[in-house]
């Protein structure tokens, strides 16, 4: 499976703050990749660097094998990009926006565009400035898909949309994915959305890619371990895979990546009254992984098929 997106040590500073730090990322053809991170984690900057809108201070990004800063117009026509906030010309009507965008593409699927606009009940006469955020997102999606792109890059596409519109938007996205097996890279901080569509996720923490693995693997890797004591809980010793460790009354709560025999043995050595190992959903796993005073531990994995072998090797 060829890589559509490859970055090598991609780094960006704003002022003196490093917002993206030595990012190595590969997104293979046909994959739906969810880029996660808290606000300010560097997701939008990464996406803009992939499209040549922002210049990296170090490293390089390649899309379809071309340097992102030197993308040819023919290559751009194979990439659809939905920028955060869905910027469109406010003075245009939907019909004018369609005519403007259509002029740039050879493979313009006007019929599909009409179907999408009909589906969303968007009139070509409607002024863009009078559309709601959700409707603008729908117009942007329709324009992006009509160009028949091989790669869709979406920067927080559901930001600011209400639950119903968001669900509708995602349903459409899923249909698009199923139509032609397109490659999609999208950033989001709404974990439910990611869980529904992404095959693989990357988690950026302070500009560093700390997780790059299949979505299910991420959920399965993280466990919350609650140790209950009859006395004030003792300190838990540092060990590989320990992400966070906090005391809550007479309990000690641990977040552990790749919970296994060694962690169980260490926990029991402290003599707790009870040990509770809790599975987390993606949202809880993400929250527990990205918050906390300590730097999160990395989770990396190659292909989904080598999940077991890679996990043992790559968890720090």
């Amino acid at each position: 499976m060829p890589d559509m997106i490859v970055t090598h040590r991609l780094t960006k500073y704003y002022d003196r703050r490093r917002v993206v730090d030595s990012l190595d990322l590969r997104v293979g053809q046909g994959l739906v990749y969810g880029l996660l991170g808290r606000n300010g984690a560097g997701k939008s900057t990464v996406i803009k660097m992939l499209l040549g809108m922002v210049h990296p201070d170090y490293g390089r990004a390649e899309v379809f094998g071309e340097d992102a800063l030197e993308l040819r117009p023919e290559t751009r026509s194979r990439i659809a990009y939905l920028a955060e906030g869905h910027p469109l010309y406010r003075w245009m009507t939907v019909g004018e926006a369609v005519r403007f965008a259509r002029a740039f593409y050879r493979n313009w699927n006007g019929r599909l565009l009409e179907q999408i606009l009909d589906h969303f009940e968007l009139s070509p006469r409607a002024r863009v400035r009078r559309l709601s955020n959700g409707q603008r997102a729908q117009v942007s999606l329709a324009l992006a898909v009509a160009a028949d792109p091989e790669l869709l890059i979406l920067d927080d596409p559901t930001l600011g949309l209400d639950t119903v519109v968001r669900r509708d938007f995602l349903e459409s996205l899923i249909q698009i994915i199923q139509r032609r097996g397109r490659t999609i890279l999208f950033s989001s901080h709404i974990l439910g959305d990611v869980e529904r569509v992404a095959d693989r996720i990357g988690v950026l923490v302070d500009g560093v890619l700390r997780v790059d693995c299949p979505t299910d693997y991420f959920k399965e890797s993280i466990r919350k371990v609650v140790l209950e004591f009859d006395r004030p809980p003792p300190e838990f010793p540092a060990c590989p895979g320990l992400v966070s460790n906090r005391q809550v009354g007479r309990k000690r709560e641990l977040i552990v990546v790749g919970y296994g025999e060694e962690h169980r043995r260490l926990a029991e050595s402290l003599g707790p009254r009870a040990v509770d190992v809790i599975e987390l959903n993606l949202e809880d796993a993400f929250i527990e992984y990205t918050r906390g005073p300590r730097r999160a531990l990395p989770i990396f994995m190659g292909e989904a098929s080598d999940a077991e072998s890679a996990s043992a090797e790559r968890v720090a």
């Binding site: 939008s44 900057t45 803009k48 499209l51 809108m53 922002v54 210049h55 117009p73 023919e74 751009r76 026509s77 990439i79 990009y81 920028a83 906030g85 910027p87 469109l88 010309y89 406010r90 003075w91 005519r99 403007f100 965008a101 002029a103 740039f104 593409y105």
Partner: protein, 219 residues
Amino acid sequence: MLKALVLKELRETARIALVALAAHLACVANCAGYAVLPFRSMRNVDEIPFLDGSFLTSFCFVSVALAAALGLGQTVSESRWGTWLFLLHRPASLWRVLAAKLAVGAGLYLICGLVAILSYAAWAAMPGKHASPFRWWMTAYAWEAWGVIAVVYLGAFLAGIRPARWFGTRLLPLAAGGLLAVLLVFLLFWPLVGIAAFLLVAACLVGLIHFTARSRDFS
């Protein structure tokens, strides 16, 4: 593709150009003695069209305002609404996008000025309108001003596209454009030198605009 870009630019800038054209024509009417503006007609019966300075003053004022509004309007509005990201991701080269913008902006500026000068010249050429003959050489200063103020447009465009932290530094290219325009007026005492200098300055500014757009971050 180029047609779509040009039409978009025309739609976005037409309002500015129409306002400027109306202002130009109002000034022409005032200079010709028709008091269409609320203030007193600027024309006295013994003044010679184009040489007495009243037309040139109002022409320069409106032209500089138009040039600055066009240059800034074409760039700052894209930044304000975040549409650079939409525009620059269209499969067209950056140069083509900029060329469409500059061609429309400069074209509108030149057309507005052209209409103003020709209208005033047409009035001045009519017999019995003023107490002097009319010769085309009398319009030379107006044409010079028309040409050199195009540099202000390029300076304003550069100011709008250039990232800066505060207005003072942002407006530097606009101020530089104004200064260069004044210098070019003096150089035009030697027409060939003046024209060569104008072309050089314009080419440098267009090159700087392209370089700035290529090297800046659109975030």
